[in-house]
């Protein structure tokens, strides 16, 4: 399993920070370039596919705009790790194939650290470089399935195909 670099942000990161309103009329590629720019100007340009974002409580509060989750997914973020999320953002993230880990100790993760994610069904774990582990809340199986399929649209397409093949 590959190591992921941690990008750290604070608490109450809102959807205007993730997907600023001024760019909402554009496509996800443009919005993603401005993702988190008011709190982490180095993020959108520096993040690599497979990196993870760690945050304080209440990540994703605010608007229903799913581009907030879409921008992170577009940038290749493998998972967000935070103690709590806005419920609306939580649904949007899984619908777009972005994994969210609910981790009470997320704030122990240091910026720039390397971690591994262990996605076991009874509760994912974040494995630290020193071997320490942070436990995360279990994720309902149907949401895990959605993320693995690449999101809700991909899942609907799979189901359409199965239905048309009489499966």
């Amino acid at each position: 399993m590959s190591m992921a670099r941690v990008w750290r942000v604070g608490s109450d990161v809102d959807t205007d920070v993730l997907a600023p309103g001024a760019y909402m009329k554009h496509g996800i590629d443009v919005i993603a370039r401005h993702c988190l720019e008011s709190v982490r100007p180095d993020f959108a340009g520096g993040v690599q596919a497979g990196d993870v974002l760690s945050a304080g409580p209440n990540f994703g509060i605010g608007s229903s705009r799913e581009q907030a989750a879409g921008a992170l997914h577009h940038l290749g973020v493998a998972a967000v790790i935070a103690p709590s999320y806005s419920g609306l953002f939580f649904r949007n993230a899984f619908n777009l194939g972005l994994l969210l880990l609910t981790c009470p100790q997320a704030e122990q993760l240091e910026d720039g650290a390397s971690v591994q994610l262990l996605l076991q069904p009874d509760g994912p774990q974040v494995i630290l470089a020193d071997g320490g582990q942070l436990a995360c809340a279990p994720i309902p199986a149907f949401l895990m399935e959605m993320v693995q399929a690449g999101g809700l649209l991909a899942l609907l397409k799979q189901r359409n195909r199965s239905a048309s093949h009489g499966v």
């Binding site: 600023p20 229903s64 949007n92 619908n95 359409n160």
Partner: protein, 427 residues
């Protein structure tokens, strides 16, 4: 033997009906039939059409869909105009029977046109969709991809929430209103204090409120992070909906849309009679304190707008403070009425004239500066606003400072040039 009666919350009853069940348990995940899906020009066709085409699917029931053009309609730039054009073309192509174009903000025009009634389960492509909870509808916001799924299947999953019962007893003072109640609640419980559970408003101070004021409570449940903000149906609900043309059949026996006595709730008590006007400092609605603590703040812009703060009742509140007065020379007062029909009523009764006489500039019936999608406030400005959110960078560049308050307080502050207690102006 008589069956055992297990008291259910309003949230449980609404979900059980939509799931075709006699009862549901807190925490269980159920699939619900959707009675109505609302989306707007930002979350709607421009996002849904490509996905629907990709799937080769069609909308499950266009009679259950309402499209509202409100986010990009007051903006003149070409990208925004293109979004509006795509929205209109798609609406024609899909033959949507319910399209409300440039006539007001979705959360206000939806009930105004009689689309909501107690007992429904509805979704909206906008985070302030809990506004529908004021009509005892289980209504919540979803993103565009999930809306696509609803449009294809007519269904959505819900995890049956716990209920946080916010009990407001006593009577509000003159010049204090639903907006103050919500700012105070958010300060007490926190921005995500609703934990995506159901909030239900009750108590004598809530039942005394008009429907537009109740809508403000439900609307700002979004800022509490609740999935829904419910209010039991009563005679006030029925009177309002009858006037909008809702079929009488939908208004019979609505009194059952309430939480049963003894239903398990986490109760929070509030005393309305002690509540002073509230102001949220930049950059969070939870950053709320009493108005008297902000007397040294001098806003250059006073904004009355949005689904939260520019309904008819909000316009009347502002006018009651401004009547006969003139805004301070240092302040620009902007008023964007939440719907065209409400503005027409405000014109007929003289409310709009009072606002204009005081120096207000009247803007179009759209989300306006609140959404931050079009015309926003200039860099460095200090704004007092009747809207719902003051996140950094939402209503303009990050250097804009937005203070949230009730329309009474916005008006009083516009008059004096400093953030001011409206109870003094009304005395």
């Amino acid at each position: 033997m008589a069956p055992l009666f297990t008291p259910q919350t309003l949230a449980q009853k609404l979900i059980a009906r939509a799931a075709g069940r006699s009862r549901v348990a807190v925490g269980e995940i159920v699939t619900c039939r959707v009675d109505l899906a609302m989306f707007h020009d930002s979350s709607g066709p421009r996002r849904l059409k490509p996905m629907l085409d990709e799937l080769g699917a069609q909308i499950w029931d266009t009679s259950k869909v309402v499209l509202v053009l409100d986010h990009y309609v007051s903006t003149s730039d070409t990208d925004a105009q293109k979004i509006v054009e795509v929205t209109r073309n798609t609406a024609r192509q899909w033959k949507l029977p319910h399209v409300i174009d440039s006539e007001g903000i979705c959360h206000v025009v939806l009930p105004e046109r009689g689309h909501l009634h107690p007992g429904m389960l509805c979704v909206g492509g906008d985070s302030h969709s809990p506004t529908g909870g004021a009509f005892a509808c289980y209504m919540f916001g979803i993103g565009a991809t999930e809306m696509l799924s609803v449009c294809v299947t007519g269904e959505i999953w819900v995890q049956v929430p716990r209920t946080l019962l916010l009990q407001w007893q006593g009577r509000l003072q003159r010049g204090v209103c639903a907006k103050d109640m919500m700012l105070h609640t958010i300060a007490r419980l926190g921005m995500n204090g609703g934990q995506y559970q159901a909030v239900e408003f009750s108590g004598t101070a809530v039942t005394a409120l008009s429907m537009p004021e109740r809508m403000t409570l439900s609307n700002m449940s979004a800022e509490l992070g609740a999935q829904v903000g419910l209010i039991a149906a009563d005679a006030t609900t029925v009177d309002y909906l009858r006037a909008t043309g809702v079929a009488p059949a939908h208004l019979q026996d609505v009194s059952s849309w309430c939480s049963d006595e003894g239903a398990p709730c986490e109760t929070h008590d509030f005393d309305a009679s002690l509540l002073a006007p509230q102001v949220a400092a930049p950059h969070s609605p939870a950053n709320t304190r009493t108005v008297s603590e902000f007397g040294n703040v001098a806003p250059g812009i006073a904004y009355i707008g949005a689904c939260t703060g520019a309904k008819l009742e909000d316009l009347r509140a502002a006018a009651s403070v401004l009547r006969g007065g003139r805004v301070a020379a240092s302040v620009q007062l902007l008023v964007a009425p939440a719907s065209a029909r409400e503005q027409q009523q405000a014109e007929r009764e003289g409310t709009m004239q009072t606002l204009r006489d005081a120096g207000a500039t009247v803007l179009g019936n759209s989300c306006g500066a609140c959404a931050g999608y079009g015309a926003t406030f200039p860099a460095g400005s200090t704004v007092i606003s009747s809207t719902a959110r003051n996140f950094k960078g939402r209503m303009g560049p990050p250097s804009v400072d937005v203070y949230l308050a009730s329309p009474y307080t916005v008006a009083a502050s516009a008059l004096s040039g400093r953030i001011s207690d409206p109870r003094e102006a009304l005395a």
